[in-house]
Symmetry: C2
Subunit: 147 residues, 2 copies
DNA sequence: ATGCTTTCTGGAATCGTTCAAGTAACGCTC
DNA sequence: GAGCGTTACTTGAACGATTCCAGAAAGCAT
C-alpha cells in the first residue's frame, strides 16, 4: 500500500480503514463523509460510519487531508494540502472546485487590520454559479447555501 | 421605531419580533441565534425560538443582516451589509471580529481561474489566535473549529 | 507470542436548525 | 375603523451531520 508509509510518517498506526479512507479522499476529491463512506465500503464493506468520521478527523488533525466546510453544506475533504489554494462553491447546486490563489503564496492575504490577532491562515471561498446552473432557468426556491 | 421603515422598505411586514431582532443584531454584532434570542427576550419575553430563526432567515434573505458561518461554529449575524469586509476567527475561543478588506472594494478578489463559474462574492476568513488566547498557555484539547 | 494501547463497532445522544399544523396579527380595502 | 386575506407567529416534533460512549478487536513494541 502506497499510503502505509505516509500514515506511519505522521505517527499514525496503519489500519485498513485509514488506508481506505485516505485512498478514497484521493480518488474522490471534495466529497463529503457520506460519499467517502460509500467509496470506502467498495473495498471494505464492513467499516462503520463512525470509523470514517474518526479517521477523517485524525487525518485532518495530522494534516494529511484538508477539511472544507462551506456554509450550509456538510464537510468535504481533499488530499491537496500544504499549497495555497481556495474554492468556488456553486450557490445553486453546491458543487465545489479548486481555485488557485490569485495572489502569490500562502498565506496569500494580509488583512489590513488584525485587531491584535495572530493570523495563521486565510481562507477564501468564492460563491457563484457553476456553468451548468448558469444555463438553467432561475429557481429561487432551490437555492442552497450562502445567499 | 427607527427600524419599521427599513423593514417596510424591504417589502416586509412590521412586527414586534422583527423590530426586536433587527435591533438586537445591531446592538450585539457577531452573536449567534441563541444569544440573539436572549437579547430579544429582554424586550419581548415571549418570542419563540423559531420566530427568531425565521426572522433571521427573512432578514438575511432581503439583505438586512448578514449571516456568518465559520466552520465548526453556529451561525452569527451582523448588521454591516453591503460593504466589503471580512472576518477573523479565533481558533481557540471562537471569538470573531471584523477585518476591513485588504484590497479595494467588493468583490475584492478575482480568482485566477474561475472554471467557468460566475463569481458573485468572495468571502475571506482569517483564522488565528485572539490577543487573549495568545496570552494563555496552549491547551490543545480545548481547541475549537478549524485546525 | 504477550500485553498495552489505540482504534474499531454498534448504538445512543447531541447540537443547531428546520418542518408542520394551528392560531394570531399585519395592513389593505371598504 | 371593522372585515378579510395573507403572512407571521407559537408549540411541538423532526431532521441531518456529527460526536459520545462502552466494549470488542487489532496494531505494534517488547
Amino acid at each position: 500500500m502506497i499510503n502505509s508509509g505516509v500514515l506511519r510518517d505522521h505517527g499514525l498506526r496503519v489500519t485498513g480503514p485509514r488506508i481506505a479512507v485516505l485512498d478514497a479522499v484521493a480518488r474522490l476529491p471534495h466529497s463529503d463523509t457520506l460519499g467517502l463512506i460509500a467509496e470506502v465500503r467498495g473495498s471494505l464493506p464492513s467499516v462503520s460510519v463512525q470509523a470514517v468520521y474518526d479517521v477523517l478527523r485524525t487525518l485532518t488533525d495530522v494534516g494529511l487531508v484538508r477539511r472544507i466546510e462551506p456554509a450550509g453544506h456538510p464537510a468535504r475533504y481533499e488530499r491537496r494540502v500544504g499549497d495555497n489554494h481556495h474554492h468556488v462553491v456553486c450557490r445553486a447546486c453546491g458543487v465545489l472546485e479548486d481555485v488557485d490563489c490569485a495572489l502569490g503564496s500562502a498565506p496569500c492575504l494580509e488583512p489590513s487590520t488584525t485587531n491584535g490577532f495572530t493570523i495563521e491562515t486565510a481562507e477564501v471561498t468564492y460563491w457563484g454559479l457553476c456553468p451548468t446552473c448558469q444555463a438553467l432557468p432561475a429557481r429561487p426556491a432551490d437555492d442552497v447555501g450562502q445567499p
